[in-house]
């Protein structure tokens, strides 16, 4: 088995979209991320797996500088997106977050209409010159979020009135509407039932054509289903990073093997 070259694996684009070097994160005195190096490719789904508290969500939140909103959090090291250091003082974190969209663990639609939820980002960033253009952006985002057919007749209904799965797809559409280049997803299916999970996973697979997607997940099956590359975190260390097929069939590190076979975590 081990001798067979893995030709079946999806060809990975050679360009690196996100490149992290020597990233350290501290919460007060707690060293949460220890010297992580990772290269994330464009138009690929990269999964971060690992036991609870291993730092995978923390690392994800470094990529769009969401950790800046937490007072006690310090980030060291270098994270480049398209060769540009996002922790450079010249970089505006607000602009960065428009380029790096994020979807959260729990669906968090704003208490506004479905339309206003999706139009929120474009309105803030002035992406539309007039109402017709805004309508177009909203429709496109909702279509890409695979929810257009369900909500097209009730765009003015409150977003909080949708089901959990619909809310999460609405949040994905909301993130897409600002035309990000990278989409970060922090356990996007953990609050959803299996049917809604399947819909969102299908959507993630489609999103790969346009975006670089990074997903944090607790479900190893989900990581295996949706991702091309997988990173395994343990106790703040990046233990192993490689093609998903390889991580799940022939892991190099014994800790990875223990985790995916259910012995730790």
């Amino acid at each position: 088995m081990q001798d067979i070259p893995q030709t079946s694996e999806a060809p990975v684009a050679s360009t690196s979209k996100i490149s992290a070097k020597g990233v350290q994160v501290y919460y007060g005195d707690n060293h949460a991320i220890k010297d992580v190096d990772v290269e994330i490719e464009d138009k690929t789904v990269t999964a971060f797996i690992g036991p609870s508290g291993c730092g995978k969500s923390t690392f994800l939140r470094c990529i769009n500088r969401m950790n800046d909103t937490i007072d006690i959090c310090r980030v060291q090291g270098q994270i480049l997106i398209d060769g540009e250091d996002i922790y450079d003082p010249a970089v505006d974190p607000v602009q960065l977050r428009a380029k790096v969209g994020m979807v959260f663990q729990k669906p968090n639609p704003f208490p506004k209409s479905i339309y206003d939820n999706v139009a929120y980002g474009p309105r803030i960033h002035g992406l539309a010159r007039n109402k017709a253009e805004l309508d177009e952006i909203v429709e496109k985002a909702l279509r890409r979020g695979a929810i257009w057919n369900e909500v097209k007749d009730r765009l003015q209904a409150p977003g909080t009135g949708l089901s959990g799965g619909q809310q999460q797809r609405l949040c994905i559409a909301r993130a897409i509407a600002t035309e990000p280049e990278v989409l970060l997803m922090d356990e996007p299916c953990s609050a959803l039932d299996p049917i809604a999970t399947a819909q969102v996973e299908e959507l993630i697979d489609e999103l790969r054509q346009n975006y670089s997607v990074v997903i944090v997940t607790h479900s190893m099956q989900q990581a295996a289903r949706v991702s091309q590359r997988t990173a395994f975190f343990h106790l703040g260390n990046l233990v192993e990073f490689g093609d998903t097929d390889k991580i799940f069939t022939t892991p190099e590190d014994p800790r990875t093997e223990s985790y995916i076979t259910g012995r730790i975590g």
Binding site: N64, M66, T69, D71, V94, Q95, L96, R97, A98, K99, G101, M102, F104, K106, N108, P109, F110, P111, K112, Y120, G121, I124, H125, C171, R174, A175, T178
Partner: protein
Amino acid sequence: MPLSFLGNPLTLALLVLALAIAGYALARGRAMARAGGDARKLHSLPNYYGMTAAMFAAVPALGVLVIWLLTQPMMIQNAILPMLPVAAVGERGTDSLILSDVNRVAEGLNIAVAQGVLDPQSIAALREDPSTLRKTLAGVGVALGSDVEPFVLAAAERARDLDARWDMIRAGVVILIALAGLLLAVRAADPAFRARNVVERGIMALLITAASLAILTTVGIVLSMVFESLNFFSQHPWQDFFLGGSWAPNFRGNSELSILPLLWGTLYISFIALLVAVPIGLFAAIYLSEYAGSKMRAIAKPLLEILAGIPTIVYGLFALLTVGPFLVDVFGAGGALSMEGLRDGDPLMSGATAVITAGLVMGIMLIPFVSSLSDDIINAVPQSLRDGSYGLGATPSETIRNVVLPAALPGIVGAILLAASRAIGETMIVVLGAGAIARFSGNPFEAMTTITTRIVSQLTGDTDFASPETLVAFALGLTLFILTLGLNVIALYIVRTYREQYE
């Protein structure tokens, strides 16, 4: 009488408490004895048996004592009422005057006998001609308004007799009840007796009593207001009160007593106060909850809340002595903004007491109220909504304007309504800062008056308590109460609906 000390309710209460303590010791000892000295064989801890006995001894006896103390004066009054001359009793108002005379004479006789100035024989000698009694009683510190009539003395003596007799009966009944309760509980003290559960029920009863007392007091306040208001409306046309246009109390009668000018002043001052308090309080709350670091918050929040601890009379002094004169300097005669040229030499503001003075100071008073309520409500907006907004590249102020405030709006409206109801009911600031002239005017630099100010001035005058000029205070108070109650109900309803939204 050797047992006369029992007539004193305080002694009686102490005696009952002593019985309760004895019951505690007896029941505890008996329970322990019947368990053979082994506390583990008892259903409850030994103390619970003691507490049960103490409870049974003290609570019913003290309850009866309190009720008896309240009813005895009424019973005695009913008993002596037939002794008074028919002519004096017929007229309303007069009988209560005579009764209070009787009570004072009875009280005076008690004191005089206690001090040895009078004795039963000398009192009997006074029966035919009690004219010297006034002087005698004045000597022991009881001043009477007029000479004592023979029938008043007779009634007073009868009242004293009844009082002394019933005091003894009361003592007997209360002690009997205490002993009965004590015996019952001590007899029940047995290892199988569930004393713990009985104490639990007793505690529940205590808590229920406290809660219902609070509610009953409110009901009592409302009822007393309603009766006095009905009394007022029977003497004064309601059309004038609710629909009339002027407030001109006249102590010779025929007053014009309309609430409308007062209501206008109240609402105008409250409006200015909210105009000051809502933006400042809300912005302070936003700063504290969204921008301030934890150190800043730890200092600024208590500082802001100190404002809430300042007594309103101090705010009133601040209005009268600082804010008012300052405003007169600016808007009064010779001031920079007095507009005398435009108003034919008539300055915008003529005195320190004005709507604007009271409004500004009341606004300052309300700032911590608005900010602390809004802060709670803003903090209740889930962090996930903020994260969602930041994740889309919004700045903090965009997030607050577009996400946090719309989500918190119902709660903030509730907070503003609560602040409004405090502004409407506020008294001391307007008494000192707003002036005393009832009028409809749009000029905030003029003195106006409010409902609360008029209640104070109508009740603190020298007028007859039964005249409409005094009774109007109750109608004003009731209207104010209904107004603020309505605002509070709406506000609490809004706040509660909002809180349930993000469970």
